[in-house]
Amino acid sequence: MSAPIIIEAQALTKRYGAALAVDRLDLAIQRGEVFGLLGPNGAGKTTTILMILGLTEPTSGSITTVGYDPLRQPLEVKRRVGYLPDQVGFYDHMSGRENLRFIGRLGGLPAGEVERSIDAALARVHLTDVANRRVGTYSRGMRQRLGIAEILMRKVEVAILDEPTSGLDPQTTREFLDLIRSLKGEGMTIVLSSHLLDLVQSICDRVALFSSGRIGLAGRVEDLMREVLGGTYVLDVEATGSDLPARFSRLDGVRKVTPLGGDRLRIDAMADVRGAIAKVVVEADGQLRALTMGSASLEDVYTRYFEEVRHAA
């Protein structure tokens, strides 16, 4: 049973002059999920986000956000959707609290309620101590958190975060991801874009992989891995022995064997086949020099998928 669709795009296209930024994109995001728009810079992620918000006009195609048309009813859409842009900017000479107050006034919230929401939001992102300092003195992570505080303050249904982790150190990134998880726990729908695939695969329910304006793949991370990599286990083997690739391929649970040059091989498997592999090497009179297993990452999925697409073309 899937949740109701909250953002839907059909054949969405955006052209900047001769350049095609987004090319006949279909997208359906469900209420309450964390959806990742993943892909390299310039793949059309930000343009898609701007069209979802009604901040840029699609060349053709249709889009519905929280049940409204972002072109005709932008205020209704923007009232329900919060946006944290890539490299978010604030008025540096104003304090964090003043920045939030201004946003609250723009949204037309009553003054008393604004102050209460600001206090709650700042506490949530641990910025209460520095709330009255000028934003100019904030670090990158603090600004990012202030951006989240803005979304919290506005009590929106959907939060769209564009590259929220870029430029953050690992510790800050972890805290940030925890914050996103807690937002999801409250029933907020979260759309986030990133070029750091591994980082976000842990928190996304579903992802869409972008490549030059199109979505190549979309679905749950595990499903994509099974579909593209043929398994969620990737083994790196370094061994000598005759006819090893063929022998490995015959093993149960092995989906694919790729020679990497020298004595090295990569094996995609459905299950943990390390024991069987060691046995095969011994039976082949070879020497097993290394056998390591890494779980496959989204990065592998992305690289592999678009490699295949290029080869097919």
Partner: protein
């Protein structure tokens, strides 16, 4: 395709923030000090000059704005020169500044239309100018009362207020122009230079260009007296393309009540006129009505061009 919702949502919030920004900014402080100092100097010099002249003048109070004592120019000359600078300083980075601070996409993602951002910014700039000019005006009137020892008459106050209104409208034109450039150019330095070059054109070079252009457009034929009238009218028309001319003419008519016409006058038209007799205030206002509406129209036109290009602009940096 019609959009839904009011374009005015959020104008108040933008207006308040921008006004606070303008009033507290360092660059405004510096310019205010500059204008107040030069204004005071000019008025003080004028008062000294007025005291030296023995004679009766019904509008002695208005003279503090118009009389000049070498080497200082008069107050209105200063003002015609400095108001554009203040207006440009207020607006040259108003829109592109939002892009450069990367605040634009976050602000426009709030439930407001782009209109609100632009209206709010323009109105806040205009309000800043109005507050500043009104304060300056009151200060100089006070200075006048103090040193001249006579209070202004009702008509002088009326004419003075008219002058204030014209000054604000004149500032509005430059504000709209600077804002237009801040929309068209992404780099604040470019937009500032573009606005300043227009200021230089109208403040300095327009007076040199107009005679040359007139010779080309309406050459004088020595055997045809009508061609002389055409030439004069062309020159006047070209001059009035400059907001500085409109401002100068308006202030002249308002502050010198004996001004009867702002264009060429034939000797026959002066027949029976009491030369030097002042016009009633209502007639002076009537005389500058086209100039005042021209200034307001220019401001609205420039704002509209900026508004149109801002609506079409892609907001991604």
């Amino acid at each position: 395709m019609r959009r839904e919702g009011s374009p005015w949502t959020g104008v108040g919030a933008v207006f308040r923030r921008e006004l606070a920004d303008n009033l507290l900014s360092v660059r405004m402080r510096l310019l205010e000090i500059l204008v107040v100092l030069t204004g005071t100097a000019a008025v003080y010099a004028a008062i000294g000059e007025i005291k030296n002249v023995v004679g009766e003048d019904r509008f002695v109070f208005l003279r503090i704005f118009t009389v000049a004592r070498e080497p200082l120019p008069s107050f209105i000359t200063f003002l015609a020169f400095l108001i554009p600078i203040v207006a440009i300083a207020l607006a040259f980075d108003s829109v592109n500044g939002e892009f450069n601070r990367r605040t634009i996409s976050r602000i426009l993602a709030q439930p407001i239309y782009r209109d609100a951002l632009l209206f709010g910014k323009f109105l806040a700039g205009l309000a800043t100018l109005a507050v500043f000019l009104t304060a300056l005006w009151l200060f100089l009137m006070g200075l006048g009362i103090f040193f001249l020892g006579v209070p202004p008459s009702g008509e002088e106050i009326l004419r003075g207020l008219g002058f204030l209104l014209v000054a604000i409208a004149y500032g509005g034109v430059w504000l709209a122009l600077a804002m237009l450039f801040s929309i068209l150019f992404r780099a604040p330095a470019t937009s500032a230079l573009a606005a300043l070059s227009f200021w230089l054109l109208f403040a300095v070079f327009w007076g040199m260009i107009v005679p040359l252009a007139t010779e080309v457009v309406a050459p004088i034929d020595p055997y045809d007296p009508r061609s002389q009238i055409t030439a004069v009218n062309t020159a006047v028309g070209l001059n009035r393309l400059s907001p500085n001319t409109l401002f100068a003419e308006s202030t002249l008519a308002l502050l010198n009540p004996s001004t009867r016409a702002l264009g060429p006058v034939f000797a026959s038209q002066l027949h029976g006129a009491l030369v030097g007799a002042p016009l009633p205030a209502g007639q002076s206002f009537l005389l500058i009505w086209p100039q005042l509406t021209g200034l307001i129209a220019a401001a609205i036109l420039l704002f509209t061009i900026g508004y149109m290009s801002f609506q079409r602009q892609e907001i991604r940096a």
